[in-house]
Amino acid sequence: MAELKLMKGNEAFGEALIREGVDGYFGYPITPQSEVIEYLMTELTHERTGMVTLQAESEIAAINMVYGAAASGKKSATSSSSPGISLKQEGISYLAGAELPCLMLNVVRGGPGLGTIQPSQADYFQATKGGGHGDYHMYVLAPASVQEMADFVEDGFDIAYKYKTPVMLLSDGVIGQMMEKVMIKEQKPRLTDQEIHEKHGDWATIGRIGGRERNIITSLYLKSDQMEEHNQKLQAKYKKMEEDDCRWEEIQTEDADYIIVAYGSSARISQKTIQLAREKGIKLGVLRPITLFPFPKKPISELANRVKGFLAVEMSAGQLVEDVRLTVNGKVKVEHFGRNGGIIPSPVEVLEAIEKLIKE
């Protein structure tokens, strides 16, 4: 039964994993997302649905457990925060190369290095442009509420299986740590071995049932022509994602002269700025990318034809702003406002940045 609860973003993600019928979660604790594994352990997932929750010896072990489970057709997930996600990069590149579906959550903290445990959005480049080696992308969803921390579990797995690709939820300490009310969906049953065979038997390594040809999961193609062909297949997939599964939200953009582009908690803060700006007679709107890859180029380039300027607001020194600039392509000015190191920008600061953009 669906239930209304008051939960932290991290807990809502954990509960949503259980309800999604996930087979295995493999993780290693790190602030600010340790509540995910703590919640799953407290909920005794194995007793509830048969889902395995395992604290690995390291992040590297955890991501490779995800690889193994996903390869056998099991629905698998992991989560971590920035330094831990860096450790997982080799595994993520292999998952993308081997076309394995899985879900990962990064509750971003300030960096670089060990950084701080406070919220940040400085892993945008890492999430959207690679991070690991090779020409690959993950499908990246950016939740902006506790509700989306739960809902994007289902949406993320749908995409992961549709494209056979790793999917990342790029969140941050604000969304992970805050509590909001959240409607948790009904429990989905975990797939039986028979159902996995029927659904994923054409690629998953689940034994040669009926003496069929063996399935091989690999990212190794020593012959260059095969490797190129494989790369082209991956690129075609990313193009299709862009055409069919790009998501965004427009907030008061209809009559706007200026647009803030912001995702996750920055988008929430910027919505407060809309209210403050409109009280001063500034027609401000927010375009919130829901998917960071694929990036919502279409609505941004359309807006660029009729607005006077864009401001990218992010908790980083300027990462998202590069994609906005590429998309706007010089039509109007694009500026950046960011705080870093774990400082959360205030709605008033963002308003000041908008006023500066208007004056210039």
Binding site: V174, R268, I269, Q271, K272, S346, P347, V348
Partner: protein, 180 residues
């Protein structure tokens, strides 16, 4: 209606759980709520604060720098948050341990002797419920019955026997808050 509130004090005073009970109370009356803690390297005896928003509408930023109400429970928090109350807003504080009392003239200031009342009642753990009661008296935005429902939701079942004591503490706070 939108209430933007900060509760700030020492870790261990029950600041976060008081915020959680308020958030639950908001849900009980079908409102939107957010609860955003300071989750830094906090510890018992260190400072802790939580921003709670209760609103009839969708909540935009869960992180704020100005508040309708500030509940202040130690000097460090007074130094930090007195200035962040919006003009016309409310500051509620426990004078216990406060050396520099609030001086602003453009806000309403209330005090509640939470620490000494809790000591009188023989249970320092209900301190936060006394403060909550004082807040409900000053700003009756959530109904007491919904607060009790919120308490039931946020307390594990094994502690439900303590609900009458908590209710008593809430009334204590309601009866003893002073408008300065």
């Amino acid at each position: 209606m939108t209430e933007e509130l900060i509760i700030a004090g020492f870790g261990g005073q029950g600041v976060l759980s008081m915020g959680k009970i308020l958030a639950y109370s908001g849900i009980m009356q079908d409102q939107e709520v957010s609860w955003m803690p300071s989750y830094g390297p906090e510890m018992r005896g260190g400072t802790a604060n939580v921003t709670v928003i209760i609103s009839d509408d969708r909540i935009s930023s869960p992180v704020l720098t100005e508040f309708d109400t500030a509940i202040i429970l130690n000097q460090q928090s007074m130094d930090k948050f007195e200035e962040s109350v919006k003009p016309g807003g409310v500051l509620l504080y426990d004078p216990n341990g406060i050396s520099k009392h609030p001086t602003r003239k453009d806000i309403t200031i209330h005090s509640i002797e939470g620490a000494s009342l809790a000591a009188e009642m023989g249970n320092t753990k209900i301190f936060n419920m006394i403060i909550l009661g004082a807040y409900l008296e000053v700003k009756p935005l959530v109904k007491l019955e919904n607060v009790i429902l919120g308490l039931k939701k946020s307390l594990p079942e094994r502690y439900h026997k303590l609900i009458p004591l908590n209710e008593e503490a809430i009334h204590k706070g309601m009866d003893n808050v002073k408008n300065l």
